[in-house]
Symmetry: C2
Subunit: 311 residues, 2 copies
């Protein structure tokens, strides 16, 4: 059984766009519950300015109060040096940096050019100076909702530049659900043939959204290509302002349920995870897109109607 490593991003990527503040106690309890499910990594929160993302204004308190389970890495999003200092102070196990590989999306999302982002994130890496592993998440790697196609070579080049300045791993993000399986297969093959070729120890993760229903098909293309690390968001929380009404991130439990059925070792206690997933509608105050929490596992059987018993 091949091992797959799951990174849960609901409390960061999911919560950050929720309209209603999730109380700190609830966040801590949720991360603690997730810690018991077998994740390799949990992206707990974001050390961004509280003005930029008010939903995550309690980042320091959440990181201080969660119960750390050995074997689980607690990562945090860090946009700049100030965030990195807070993350180091909070003893995060990893810092996750973000840059979009689309100039227009980077300016829309981070209010600066890609060149400025790269310089600023280089400063963060220098500041951290090897004390904590760093991951770079490359947004819009499969297309930009404003620019359209993003050339694959462009993604490879940016991944290489970050790997050259000292990240431990990188996440190729389909930020707005534009990737399709053939594109995923080509991207994975190209990364394996370039950036990863002489640095196989680099951690490569894929981050998909289900905006157009292709999320789990893209996960399938990823595992078929040999990828072992995936981001997911419990309940399918998260999303994209350009697709109102559509699904957000892939649902962790749906992806894990599929990988589990396919015979992969996800390390996850799926029944426990579904128990947590079923709390999500109450936590965020609305329905969530995840399907398995509603439908049950494929192994959950139902009683036959009495009249169908053979006479």
């Amino acid at each position: 059984m091949k091992r797959i490593y799951l990174n849960e991003v609901a409390t960061r990527d999911g919560f950050q766009i929720e309209p209603t503040f999730v109380p700190t106690d609830t966040k801590v309890a949720l991360v603690d519950a997730l810690s018991e499910c077998g994740y390799a990594k949990i992206e707990v929160t974001s050390f961004t300015s509280p003005k930029a993302i008010p939903m995550l204004r309690d980042a320091d308190e959440v990181m201080g109060r969660i119960r750390r389970v050995p074997g689980v890495e607690y990562t945090v999003l860090v946009p700049n040096k100030r965030g990195a200092e807070r993350a180091l102070e909070a003893k995060a196990d990893e810092l996750n940096l973000v840059m979009s590989v689309s100039e227009t999306h980077n300016r829309a999302n981070l209010r600066m050019s890609m060149a400025d982002s790269f310089a600023a994130l280089g400063d963060v890496i220098k500041l951290v100076d090897g004390r904590t592993p760093i991951n770079i998440s490359l947004s819009c790697a499969f297309g930009c909702p404003m620019e359209g196609d993003v050339p694959q070579q462009h993604v490879l080049d940016w991944a290489q530049r970050f790997c050259d300045i000292g990240v431990r791993g990188f996440t190729i993000c389909d930020t707005t659900g534009m990737a399709h399986p053939v594109q995923v297969s080509r991207m994975v093959e190209a990364l394996q043939g370039s950036v990863l070729k002489h640095r196989p120890e680099l951690q490569l993760a894929l981050h998909f959204h289900n905006t157009r229903g292709m999320g789990l098909a893209n996960v399938l293309a990823g595992v078929q290509g040999g990828i072992t690390r995936f981001d997911g968001s419990l309940g399918g929380l998260g999303g994209c302002p350009y697709a109102p009404g559509a699904s957000g991130n892939i649902s962790s439990e749906d992806a894990i349920h599929m990988l589990d059925a396919m015979g992969y070792d996800t390390g996850i206690d799926l029944d426990k995870l579904l128990g947590v997933a079923r709390q999500m509608p109450d936590i965020v105050g609305h329905e969530v897109p995840g399907q398995v929490a509603k439908a049950g596992r494929i192994t959950d059987l139902h009683p036959a109607p009495p009249e169908t018993t053979p006479a």
Copy 2:
């Protein structure tokens, strides 16, 4: 570009479980709109007893009033000889028979044993006597919500028995969304190595539900295995009484959008289809699960916010 053939089942498999009767005029207009989209086949309705499926009590009238577009096959579900007579009278291009490969599900769904179903459907095939092509849909081929696992050999055996008595094609149905991609790959390979080996002209189609989010991943596994025929339901209409709140059939437009992006020739005018898909919530009076109708195609771009323009 490899050709993929799409069979639209929304007006039969979708409508049959809707709580509110869709007016005959609306059904006819919908089928006529679908006929302009490039489908290979449309499953228009079901010649079942009006008492069993009141939603489709206007089957004869719908079949009589739709505009036939050359190149599109108009198929109908037929449960018995009475239905077959009505279908022949209505000049259907194909009769679609249904049997579950799970004894318990067949009894629950069709109120008879599989042996009785096979005998009754054999009588239908004799009655039709080659005048119209016949398809057999094998339900629960990837698992039964009551019995659980259905052995693959069992599915192969039933497919073989129906092929031996004169069907033109067969549809392997994941009736309640229990299939996963590895299972689909194995099933396809096994069918190609047995039933289809000496009868390559037999039409093999796959019918998936998205109950647990795996629908398009299963389509991907299918096309990777060389399958060229798929059922889909506009908007993702349809479903399963055992999974309240979960998705139904795979959404035709989401599946076609993915196949189109991957470079397959689906024969479908996707923009026209999305126009029809966007009418579905009004037609059935509730939201539908299809994603692309909400999110737009991956090629639909959005304007950049003005402040992101480089100074």
